[in-house]
C-alpha cells in the first residue's frame, strides 16, 4: 500500500488537503467552544480582583474553596450525595435491566418504555411532585401516615439529605441506568448462561458468577456515565437544599455568583476542583470503551429468556411499583398541583381551581419566556442536527488524523457539570471582547444547548452512520454520483429518522435545561425553564408547577416522537 501511494503523487493530495483543512476548522471550533472556556475558568480562579476593577492575581479563590467551611462542606456534600445515590440505584438498576432483558417478565417491553419515558421527565417537575407527597408539614404521605396508629407523627421530610437522594434516584440515577443496561443485557450471548446451567449451576449462582461478571465492563461503564450525568442537574438541590441550607458544589457556585458582589475567584476555583475530581472517571470510561476487553455482543445468536416461575409475581410487582414511582407519581401529582389553590394544601375546603393556569397563561413574563423557549429550542435543534452530523461524519467516515481527538473533545461536555459549562461560557462571552455583544441574547443559550447536547447527539449519529456502512455510499459514488449528491440522496435520506430523533431530544433538552442556562440568562433571554425556578425563588409554587407541567408534557411528547423515529436506549450508550 505504501508503495502505491507514493507512486501516485499528483492527483490525490490536494483534495485530501482541502478535506484536512475543513476538518481542522471543525475541530478548532469545537475545541474553542468546549476546551477554551474551561481553560478560561482555570485562569480566572487565580484572578482575585472584584469585577470591574483591574486584574489582580492571587490564591484567595483557592484558599476559600479549600478553606472556607461552607465551600468545603459543599464538596463533601457533593461527594456524599453522589456516592449514596449511585450505591443505592446501581444494584436496583442491574436487577431491573436483568428482569427486562433476560426473563419472561410479563409486559416487559411496556415497562422498558415507561423507564424510557421517565428518563425524559424534567427533574424540576419531578421534584415539585414529590414535594406534594413528602413535604414535612402537608405532604400527602405524611398526612396519611399520621392518621395511622403506631406511626409517630410525620416520618418523611423531603427537605433533607435523604429527600434529595430519593428525588435524585427517581429523576435520573435509576432510569438512565436501566435504559443503558437493558440493551446491554439483551445483547449478551445467552449461551454463557446456558453453559453454566448445563455445567451444574442454578439460576441464582449463574446470575452471580456468570451474568454479572460477564456484564461487569458494561455495568461499570454505565456507573461512570451515570455518575457524570448525575452532576449535570442542580435544580433538585436548589429547590430542596436551600430551605435547610444544604449546598452542593453547583448550588454553591450559583450562590457565589448570583449575589450583589459575585465571587468569581472562589466559584471558578471550586469548579476546577470538581473538574479535577472528574478526571479519573473520564480516563476510566475511556479505558473501558477503548479496550473492549470482552466481546459479549454476538448478534448472530438468539438471546433466550429465563422463565421466572414462582418469582414472576413478585418481580412484576417490583417493576410496577418502580414504574409508579418514577413515572406515575410525578406525572399525576404535577398535574394535580397545577389545579391547587394553595400548592400542597389538600386539606383546605375546596382546594381546586383553574386560576393558576389562567394567571400563568395571561402573564406577560410567561409569554415572553415561552417565546424565548420556542426560539431557543427550535434553533438549538436545527444547529445541533447540522453541527453534530458534521462532527459524526468526520469521525466515522474520514481518515482525518485528528478524528480521535475530535471524538474525545465532542464527548468531553458529558463530563462537565452543567453549571460549570455555563460558567465557562459566561466567561467566554464576557471575557472575549468580540463575543461580548452576544451576552444576554438567545444565541448564547443556543450555543450552550448545542455543546451540552453534543456527547449524546454525536454518539447517536455516529452509531447510525456505522450501521449504515460505507458500502452504500461507495456504491453511489461508483454509480456516478458526486460526493454532495451522495450525501444528499443516500446519507441524508437514510439518516433522516436518526437526525430527526436527535433534533427532537435536543429540542426537549433545550426546553428543560436549567443547569447550563442558570448563569447565562438575563431577564431578556430567560426561557421557561428558568422562569419556573424564579417562581419557586419567589415562593410562587402554583405558577411554577404550571410551567413545570407544560415543560413535562413537551418533554414526554418529544421523547415519544424520538422513540417512534427509532431511537432506543442502545444508541445512547
Amino acid at each position: 500500500m505504501a508503495g502505491l501511494t507514493q507512486a501516485l503523487p499528483a492527483a490525490g493530495p490536494r483534495r485530501i488537503e482541502l478535506q484536512t483543512v475543513l476538518c481542522t476548522v471543525v475541530l478548532a471550533v469545537v475545541a474553542l467552544c468546549v476546551v477554551f472556556p474551561l481553560v478560561l475558568v482555570a485562569l480566572q480562579s487565580l484572578q482575585v480582583a472584584p469585577p470591574g476593577q483591574p486584574a489582580r492575581y492571587g490564591l484567595d479563590g483557592w484558599r476559600a474553596a479549600l478553606g472556607e467551611p461552607g465551600l468545603r462542606g459543599a464538596l463533601v456534600n457533593t461527594f456524599t450525595v453522589t456516592f449514596v445515590r449511585q450505591l443505592l440505584s446501581l444494584p436496583l438498576a442491574v436487577l431491573v435491566a436483568w428482569l427486562l432483558a433476560r426473563t419472561d417478565l410479563p409486559g416487559r417491553s411496556w415497562i422498558e418504555f415507561a423507564f424510557w419515558a421517565a428518563f425524559f421527565l424534567p427533574p424540576f417537575t419531578v421534584t415539585l411532585s414529590w414535594i406534594l407527597l413528602l413535604d414535612p408539614e402537608y405532604g400527602l404521605v405524611n398526612t396519611w401516615l399520621a392518621k395511622l396508629p403506631f406511626v409517630g407523627g410525620r416520618p418523611f421530610n423531603i427537605y433533607s439529605f435523604w429527600g434529595i437522594v430519593w428525588v435524585h434516584i427517581i429523576t435520573g440515577s435509576l432510569t438512565v441506568k436501566v435504559i443503558l443496561l437493558t440493551p446491554a443485557f439483551r445483547n449478551m450471548n445467552a449461551s454463557f448462561e446456558e453453559a453454566s446451567r448445563v455445567a451444574g449451576a442454578g439460576g441464582l449462582r449463574t446470575a452471580l458468577r456468570i451474568t454479572v461478571p460477564v456484564m461487569a465492563p458494561a455495568i461499570l461503564s454505565v456507573l461512570l456515565l451515570g455518575t457524570m450525568v448525575s452532576l449535570q442537574t442542580f435544580e433538585v438541590e436548589q429547590v430542596l437544599g436551600l430551605p435547610f441550607r444544604f449546598f452542593v458544589f453547583s448550588t454553591t457556585i450559583y450562590d457565589l455568583l448570583v449575589t450583589r458582589v459575585p465571587r468569581y475567584d472562589a466559584a471558578t476555583a471550586l469548579s476546577v476542583l470538581i473538574l479535577a475530581g472528574m478526571l479519573p472517571l473520564v480516563f476510566a470510561q475511556q479505558w473501558l470503551t477503548r479496550g473492549r476487553r470482552y466481546t459479549t455482543v454476538t448478534g448472530q445468536f438468539q438471546s433466550r429468556v429465563h422463565a421466572l416461575g414462582a418469582w414472576r409475581a413478585p418481580a412484576m410487582l417490583l417493576a410496577l411499583a418502580l414504574v409508579l414511582l418514577v413515572l406515575g407519581v410525578p406525572v399525576v401529582f404535577a398535574l394535580l398541583g397545577t389545579f391547587m389553590k394553595l400548592f400542597g394544601f389538600f386539606h383546605i375546603p375546596d382546594p381546586w381551581t383553574l386560576e393558576n393556569w389562567t394567571t400563568v397563561l395571561g402573564d406577560e413574563q410567561f409569554l415572553r419566556s415561552l417565546h424565548n423557549t420556542l426560539v431557543l429550542a427550535v434553533s438549538t435543534a436545527v444547529v445541533t442536527i447540522v453541527v453534530h452530523s458534521l462532527i459524526a461524519y468526520i469521525i466515522v467516515r474520514t481518515r482525518y488524523v485528528g478524528r480521535r481527538l475530535l471524538d474525545f473533545v465532542s464527548w468531553l461536555p458529558f463530563t462537565v457539570p452543567g453549571i460549570i459549562l455555563g460558567l465557562a461560557l459566561l466567561w467566554l462571552f464576557l471575557g472575549v471582547g468580540i463575543l461580548r455583544p452576544l451576552y444576554g441574547t438567545t444565541a448564547v443559550l443556543v450555543i450552550a444547548g448545542v455543546i451540552a447536547g453534543m456527547p449524546l447527539g454525536v454518539q447517536i449519529i455516529k452509531s447510525g452512520l456505522m450501521q449504515l456502512g460505507g458500502e452504500l455510499e461507495e456504491a453511489s459514488r461508483i454509480a456516478g454520483a458526486s460526493w454532495w449528491a451522495t450525501y444528499r440522496r443516500i446519507v441524508l435520506r437514510l439518516m433522516a429518522p436518526t437526525l430527526l430523533a436527535v433534533g427532537m431530544i435536543t429540542f426537549v433538552g433545550a426546553a428543560r435545561n436549567i443547569g447550563n442556562f442558570a448563569l447565562l440568562t438575563t431577564s431578556a433571554n430567560r426561557p421557561l425553564s428558568m422562569l419556573q425556578l424564579d417562581y419557586v425563588a419567589q415562593r410562587k409554587f402554583e405558577e411554577a408547577v404550571v410551567v413545570a407541567c407544560i415543560i413535562m408534557f413537551v418533554s414526554l411528547a418529544g421523547a415519544l416522537v424520538a422513540r417512534l423515529l427509532g431511537l432506543r436506549g442502545g444508541n445512547v450508550g
Binding site: 450471548n189 449461551s191 454463557f192 446456558e194 446451567r197 448445563v198 451444574g200 449462582r205 458468577r209
Partner: protein, 379 residues
C-alpha cells in the same frame, strides 16, 4: 461393551416429545433411544427442530408433550409435570458459539463445573490439568479464554463439558464456526477422543459430511419430525423417504411410469418406462421401502451419480439399463472430471468421470444404471 447389571443400555430416551412455539410445532412427536457409547446425530436443514430437540434434552426448553428419560430417570414429562432443571441433569454441552466465559481464564472455565460439584482444590487442579493436556491446551491455562483461536476455544469448550464425566455429551453445531480445514481436523480429534473415553454423544448438525463421518447412527429430521434413523451407510444407500434421499448426497432422478419387468429380473425389482425424450427406454430398479407402486403409475427413478457407470460409445452395451449420451460440458478438477451429460430432451445428468481415459466435450458415451443401485419411488 456389556451392560452393567441394573443399568439399561439406553442412556437417553425421548418418547413422543413435542415443543410448540406459538402455534407451530418446532418438535413434533419425536421418539428416539440413544445407546451407551454411541455417537448419535440429529441431522437436518435449518429449522427442522434438531437444535430444539437438543435443548429439550439439555433442559433449556420444556416439552409441551411427551417424556424424556435420562439413565432411567424421567427428567421431563409434560403429562406428569416433571421437569428437572439443566443443572441437575449431569450433562455436558458444547455450544455453537462455544460460550467460553470471557471473565475467566482457561483453567477457571474448566474448573467451574468441578467447583459446583464441591470438589477439593487439589483434585480440581489435577483433573483440569489432565483434561487440558488431553487436548493440548495445557500451556494456555492461565490465559483469558477469549484470547484463544477458534479451534482452541472449541477444545476448551469440549474440556469444560467433559471434565466432570457427564452421562451424555451434547454438541450443538460445534464445527460451524471453524474454517474448512480446521473443521476436518477437529472432526477427527473429536472422534478419537470419543472412542478413547467411550462417552455417549448427541450431536446436532446440518452438515451431512460431518454427520456421516462422525456418527454411529443418524436421525434425519424434517419439519420437527424424525424421518429415518439408522447407521450412516444405511441411510445413504437405503433412504426411507424422498426427503432423506435428496438431503443426503446427490441424486439423479429420471421420470417415467411403472411398466412390465424385462426378463431376468424378479421382484422387488420394478421396471420403469421413461417419459419424454427417452420414451421407449426401460430401466429397472429396486422398489423403495414400504411404498406402493401400482402398474402404470407415475414413478421416479433415483440413483447416486457415483453409482452410474461410464463407458465409451463403442462397443454398444445391452439396451437394458444403459443409455447413450453426449458430454455437454466437461471440466478437469484434478483427481477427476466433472461432467454434464445430455441424454436427450430435458434429461441431463451431472456426474464425476474418473480420469482413466481422456474425455472431450461433445464426445458420445454410454451411461450404465445398475438395477441394484437404482431405487424407484412413486412420483
Amino acid at each position: 461393551m456389556g451392560a452393567e447389571p441394573g443399568t439399561s443400555e439406553t442412556v437417553l430416551a425421548l418418547d413422543g416429545v413435542s415443543k410448540l412455539f406459538g402455534q407451530a410445532a418446532a418438535v413434533d412427536g419425536v421418539s428416539l433411544a440413544i445407546r451407551r457409547g454411541e455417537v448419535f446425530t440429529l441431522l437436518g436443514p435449518s429449522g427442522c427442530g434438531k437444535t430444539t430437540t437438543l435443548r429439550l434434552v439439555a433442559g433449556l426448553e420444556r416439552p409441551d408433550r411427551g417424556e424424556i428419560t435420562l439413565r432411567d430417570r424421567v427428567v421431563a414429562s409434560a403429562s406428569r409435570r416433571i421437569f428437572i432443571t439443566p443443572n441437575q441433569r449431569n450433562l455436558g454441552m458444547v455450544f455453537q458459539s462455544y460460550a467460553v466465559w470471557p471473565h475467566m481464564t482457561v483453567f477457571e472455565n474448566v474448573a467451574y463445573p468441578l467447583e459446583l460439584r464441591g470438589m477439593k482444590r487439589a483434585q480440581i487442579r489435577d483433573k483440569v490439568t489432565r483434561v487440558l493436556e488431553l487436548v493440548g491446551l495445557a500451556e494456555t491455562e492461565a490465559r483469558a479464554g477469549t484470547l484463544l483461536s477458534g479451534g482452541q476455544m472449541q477444545r476448551l469448550a469440549l474440556c469444560r463439558a467433559l471434565v466432570y464425566e457427564p452421562d451424555l455429551l451434547l454438541l450443538d453445531e460445534p464445527f460451524s464456526n471453524l474454517d474448512a480445514k480446521l473443521r476436518e481436523q477437529m472432526r477427527v480429534e473429536v472422534k478419537l477422543l470419543q472412542r478413547r473415553l467411550g462417552i455417549t454423544v448427541l450431536f446436532v448438525t446440518h452438515d451431512q459430511v460431518e454427520a456421516l463421518s462422525l456418527s454411529d447412527r443418524i436421525a434425519v429430521m424434517h419439519r420437527g419430525r424424525v424421518e429415518q434413523v439408522g447407521p450412516p451407510r444405511c441411510l445413504y444407500e437405503e433412504p426411507a423417504s424422498a426427503f432423506v434421499r435428496d438431503f443426503l448426497g446427490q441424486t439423479v432422478i429420471l421420470h417415467g411410469r411403472v411398466g412390465r419387468l424385462p426378463s431376468g429380473h424378479a421382484p422387488p425389482v420394478v421396471a420403469v418406462e421413461l417419459n419424454g425424450a427417452l420414451a421407449g427406454r426401460t430401466l429397472a430398479g429396486r422398489a423403495a421401502p414400504s411404498v406402493a407402486l401400482p402398474h402404470g403409475g407415475a414413478a421416479h427413478l433415483a440413483i447416486r451419480p457415483e453409482d452410474i457407470e461410464v463407458a465409451p460409445h463403442d462397443p454398444p452395451r445391452p439396451e437394458t439399463n444403459w443409455l447413450p449420451g453426449v458430454i455437454e460440458s466437461l471440466s478437469f478438477v484434478g483427481d477427476r472430471y466433472e461432467a454434464r451429460v445430455a441424454l436427450g430432451g430435458e434429461y441431463h445428468v451431472a456426474l464425476f468421470i474418473p480420469r482413466g481415459r481422456e474425455w472431450r466435450e461433445g464426445e458420445r458415451l454410454q451411461l450404465g444404471f445398475p438395477p441394484e443401485r437404482m431405487s424407484v419411488w412413486p412420483a
